[in-house]
Structures are given as C-alpha cells and as structure tokens.
C-alpha cells in the first residue's frame, strides 16, 4: 500500500514536502520495513511535527475501530485513527463527553496523545494525557507493548506528548466524563484591559470548568489586551437533547491568492469571527459544537492564508506571566504582523505523565501570522526571548521554526525522553530541533 502522498500536509501549509505513505488497514498489521517512519493523524498540527520529508508517513485513517465502550463507566478503548468528532457522535447520546478537547474536533486519538493536547479546562482537568488509561505501542521491532502508569511506565510517559517518535499508538483507552446533555452555559464579558481579563481568569478558576479569552492584537497603548473573556460549564438540565444540531458546513474551496488581497481577507475573516463572538449573548446556552469548535464550521479555513501558508505561534508563559504577556502583546501589536485575534488560556498545575508535555502552570497565548518570510521569522524569534525569560515553552504542535536551543529550553525532560525514541522513527520537526542548524532554514 505505497501511495504517493502529495496530499498529506500540515495545517499551516508552510512546508511542502514529498513523502511516501503507508496506510495500514488493520491494526494487527506490521509496520513497513523502511525508515524513517512517522505516524500521521489528520494533519491538524500546524508546522512540521506531523511531517517527515522524504520519509514514510503512517496514515492512520483506516484505523477507525472501536474496541470497547462501557456505557456505565465511560471507559472507551479505540484504535489510534478514530477522530474526536466521531467519538463525540458515538458517546454523547449515551451521556459521555471528551475529558479534554482542543479547538477542533478533526484530530485523532493518536494525535491528541502524541501532542498531549489541552483545552479550555486545563486549569481544572489537566491535559488529554491525564485521562489516558493505557495504550498499545507498536514499535519498529515488531513488539507490541501495552503501556500504562504501571506497565512500561517510562514508554507511557515518553509517548504522551512524544510527538509520534516512540512508535505507533495502535489503540488507546481513555476515561470519558459524564454530561447530561449537549449544551453549555456560557458567559461572555468584554474587557478593556489585560488586567481585567486576568482577573476574570482568576475569579472563574473555581466556579467554571472552561475559560478562554480572545485578544485583539491590533489594539495598542492603553488598550493592549482588550478582548472577550468567556467562561462556561456543562449544562446540568436532564431535559435537554444529547445531540446538537450541527450546522451545515461551508468550505474554502481553493487557496486564496497571496499578497494584498490575502492580507485583507485574513483580517476580514478574523473580524467576522470576532463579531460572532461579540454577538453571543452575555449569558447563553450554547451547543458543544459552537462552543468548542467555532472554526470547524468553515472547512479548510487555513486556505485563506494562500499557498505561502501561515505560522502559528503558541507559547506558555510561566514566571511573571502577566508582565511577559504584556510585553509579548506590545511587541506583536507594534509589529502589525499578526492576523488580529489571539487566544489566551490559563494552564493549571495538574501535571501530565508526558515527559515532553507542553502544558504547565501559566498562561498560554496562541496566534496566527501570515507567512511574510524573513520579517515574520525575525519577529517570532524576538518573541522567543520573552518566553525564555519567563521560563516558558513553545508548543511543538504549532511550531515551524523554533531553534534547537529554544526546544531544549522549553522541555527540561528532553534527555530523559531521548532514549525512548524508536530507532526507525523520525520527523522533520525532530531533525530540525534535535540538531543545531540555525533558525528558519526549513523551507
């Protein structure tokens, strides 16, 4: 099953690599004998962590089987290629929901584990890896290792957040959370200043399971950090439906042209999105799809950035987070390069088993930058300085350009992780950050 894999890309459309592709049809099948290998889920990582230039991608799209679902306990075991979208469809009608979800439901279980993804509830529930009971890891040696906190615990920890480098997760078991219906009670506030926003995060920590804010990156001076704060809890009522009326999806059918037109459309896209958020009532009941996945309603929205693609920058700020955040926003606003909106979330103190897990106690900011080449890379490198000073980290799932040094700085357990890498596995990201090539040469 060797196919040409021109269509396998990452979400930022920043890299255009040639790959070979292997699509296992059944989970008992062996890995192909060649190196280098890298699992590929739905390519929702932005940079090159799901790419393997001139190597083989193990596309998991056929590994869609459930293995067991206990409707009484919410324990679910399924293959690594099952998407969060299909899991919700299957489990929500029985009163179970994902314990943690990223801002898109088009990601696989394998991808969610390999990046140890986080959601708007990290301050309360930790990352995805905190809810994984066990999984089977298929190594290039042909071994199938059951990994959990008690069995092969080191490989368990290495694989959660392990960027697909430790082997193929053929199946995994996760603990779902009980919900009464498909709705959330959402409250939104407009904030004029960063400090108001941070105060709301603090004040909502105990009372709300989900918190998030959208910051207007074009604001400057005293308005820096203005935006919308939203907090929510699952709706308790037992009399509401357990499924949502999912909106018909629209799609961006082709890449928009680069350049000026593109610059305006990106801003317009963000402005429309912002207005949609503003239009949400202050207190509203909202279905899970609109609440967690507002961007999923426009398929291929990444194409509005044109063929040159875009870069997402996501960092976590740890020490003196407020001041560091302020400094970042100031620099971004001054540069005029960001595409208007950024997302701010609070990360809590629950530690994940993952050795290379990105989430850690602090504030995490994520925003998009249209790819303007050197200018953009220089700006992002200067942002790295602020992150480094704050003893923070850059998120590999979003990254296309951080230096090996920044990577090592971001992940103190890197040397503990290294021996667990499968010798036949590698990625473009890994080759970039595990040696000392200067930044920004990857294109």
């Amino acid at each position: 099953m060797q196919k040409n894999a021109a269509s396998l890309a990452s979400w930022g459309n920043y890299f255009h690599y040639a790959h070979k592709c292997h699509s296992p049809e059944w989970r008992y099948q062996a890995l192909p004998a060649q190196a280098s290998l890298l699992p590929y889920g739905m390519g929702r990582s932005y940079g090159d962590s799901c790419l393997n230039e001139n190597g083989t991608l193990i596309h998991t799209s056929a590994l869609q089987n459930l293995i067991a679902f206990n409707r009484e306990t919410g324990l679910l075991r399924c293959e690594g290629g099952v998407s969060l979208a299909s899991l919700i469809d299957l489990t929500l009608p029985h009163g179970w929901f994902l314990p943690v979800t990223p801002g898109t439901k088009f990601v696989t279980i394998g991808g969610a584990i390999a990046n140890d993804v986080h959601g708007k509830n990290h301050h309360r529930d930790g990352s995805f890896g905190c809810h994984v009971r066990c999984f089977e890891l298929l190594r290039s040696s042909g071994e199938r290792l059951l990994c959990s906190a008690t069995e092969n615990p080191a490989l368990f920890s290495a694989t959660i957040g392990g960027l697909g480098l430790t082997g193929l997760i053929s199946w995994a078991e996760i603990q779902l959370i009980p919900v009464n219906n498909a709705f959330l009670e959402d409250e939104s506030f407009t904030c004029d200043h960063l400090d108001d926003m941070l105060e709301l995060f603090r004040a909502s920590r105990e009372s709300h399971q989900y918190t998030v804010a959208w910051i207007d990156c074009l604001a400057s001076g005293s308005s820096i950090g203005r935006g919308i704060f939203s907090r929510a809890n699952h709706c308790r009522s037992k009399h509401l439906p357990q499924s949502a009326n999912i909106r018909p999806k629209k799609s961006v059918p082709f890449f928009l042209p680069n350049g000026c037109l593109n610059r305006h459309t990106v801003k317009a896209f963000n402005a429309v999105y912002y207005r949609k958020l503003m239009a949400r009532q202050k207190n509203s009941r909202i279905d899970y799809d609109r609440f967690f996945y507002p961007l999923d309603s426009l398929h291929h929205w990444n194409r509005i950035y044109g063929r040159r693609g875009f870069l997402q920058y996501q960092c976590v700020l740890v020490k003196d987070a407020r001041d560091a955040l302020f400094a970042l926003l100031k620099k971004i606003s001054h540069s005029g390069q960001a595409s208007f909106l950024s997302v701010l979330k609070e990360l809590g103190g629950t530690t994940s088993p993952g050795m290379l897990s990105f989430p850690r106690k602090g504030m995490t900011l994520a925003l998009d930058f249209p790819n303007r080449g050197r200018e953009t890379l220089a700006l992002l490198s200067s942002l790295d300085e602020i992150v480094r000073e704050s003893q923070g980290a850059i998120y590999p799932a979003k990254d296309a350009r951080m230096s090996a040094e920044m990577f090592a700085n971001s992940f103190p357990q890197l040397e503990t992780f290294r021996p667990h890498i499968d010798p036949a596995f590698s990625s473009s990201f890994w080759r970039r950050v595990s040696n000392n090539k200067p930044e920004g040469q990857a294109t």
Binding site: N4, A62, N65, I67, A68, F69
Partner: protein
C-alpha cells in the same frame, strides 16, 4: 425494533461501513468472512457502537460450500433476517487469468458463484418469510467488458443479471432485491490505484446510499449517483469505437 442483518464478505470496507450505521441502532448481526482476526475486530467494533449481538462464521468463498446449510443455520439462530448484504469480491489479476485457468475459476467462484448461490438460498428464505431486503454488490465493471477488467467484470455481470432476474421472480413476495453498483471507492480493494480526485468516494458514502435504498425500496443503484451517467455514456459508445479504446 432493531434489525437482524446477514452480511457475507463482512470484513469488506463497504460492508463494515454499512454495518456501523445499523450497529448504533442496536442491530443483530451474522457476519461471514474468511479471516478470523479481521472478523473479531469488526465484531468488537460493532458491539462497542451498540450492536445487540454479533455472530461470526469463518468461510472462504473461493471453494465450493454447502451454502444451504450455512444459511439455514444462521437463519435458525437469528429466527430470520431483515436484511442481507452480499459484499465479497476480489479484484481479479487480469493478466494472470489470461494463462492461469484455475485462478480464473477461483476468481469467478468468489465474485460470481458464491454470491449467486448465497442469494439463491437467501432468496427462498426471504420469500418464505414474505419480507426482507437482499442486496448484492455488483459493479459498473459488469455493464460492459473492457480490456482492463473484463474477467472481474464478467463475473459482476453475472451477479447483476442474476440479481435483476431474482428481483423479477420475487417481485410479488414483498421481498426487496437490490443490485448495487459502486463507482471508485477508497477501500483495501483499490489501494493499488491513486485514490485521489473527484471520482473517488469513501465507503461510508456507499453505506449511506444503501441505507437509503432500503428505506426507499429501490431496485438498483449506482453509488455515488453520478456513475449512472458515466456508465450511460460508456454503454452507448459504438462498439467499432469502443474496441479501439483503452479506458
């Protein structure tokens, strides 16, 4: 009431996608296939999705069998079926069949005879019961012989004609007999091809069309729908031109 469903070639991607749609509704299944490992995976998947029960029967369709006994046993165990889907098939290695007649025969056994024999027994059972839906997966390849796949295609042609005839015969019994002709579907059978491009569809598209065909009582369908028009054109190309083409 949850449906009782008989599927042969149950590990086929199309059949599995079809079964998943009924599993969430709590259906009972009897699955026939040759590979016990695959059957076990499909069984667990259907149960986890909500199937009420799943029986599996290991059987290889490339040799002769007493299908009457096989069907009788399954029928008795389930006390009848509402739906039967016959999905087994192999993409014949056409070159090999030019010289290897045993292989040609085996390929016919799987693609045509096993389907026709199972359908014969099931047809009688459904007729006795006075209701039910019997779906046979044929192929547009059976509509007209082409250089590239006429051995496969002629076996599918046999299935199509048989299916049409059976429908005609069972017309008054209240039994629905459906001839199914899928286009280019991304499944293990077609992984050797470049599966990108607008003509290619996923197995679930076929599954959804089949579910619809049952609800609407259809007799035959191309799936996705546009293959009907593609085949209309192909069937109408005059032979003196067609024989020179390589399509």
């Amino acid at each position: 009431m949850s449906k009782k469903i008989f599927i042969s070639g149950a590990t086929s991607a199309i059949a599995h996608a079809f079964a998943r749609r009924y599993a969430v509704q709590g259906a009972h299944f009897c699955l026939l296939g040759r590979n016990p490992e695959k059957l076990a995976i499909v069984k667990d998947d259907l149960l986890a999705r909500g199937a009420s029960s799943v029986e599996t029967v290991v059987i290889d369709f490339s040799s002769r069998h007493d299908y009457t006994a096989t069907v009788n046993q399954a029928w008795q165990q389930a006390s009848g079926f509402d739906i039967a889907l016959l999905a087994q098939g192999v993409l014949t290695d056409e070159k090999r069949s030019h010289t290897d007649l045993a292989y040609l025969q085996e390929s016919f056994q799987v693609n045509a005879l096993s389907v026709i024999q199972l359908a014969t027994v099931l047809g009688e059972k459904f007729a006795e019961q006075g209701k039910g839906s019997l779906l046979l997966i044929s192929s547009p390849a059976g509509d007209r012989g082409r250089e590239k796949n006429y051995v496969y295609g002629s076996a599918k042609a046999a299935v199509s004609v048989f299916c049409d005839g059976l429908r005609n015969r069972l017309n008054k019994t209240g039994v629905q007999v459906v001839t199914v002709k899928p286009g280019f579907i991304r499944t293990p059978m077609t992984t050797g091809f470049d599966q990108s491009g607008p003509l290619w569809a996923d197995a679930d598209v076929v599954a959804s069309d089949l579910e619809n065909a049952i609800i609407k009582g259809k007799s035959s369908l191309y799936t996705p729908w546009f293959w009907r028009y593609i085949m209309l054109v192909i069937r109408h190309i005059p032979e003196f031109i067609f024989k020179k083409l390589s399509i």
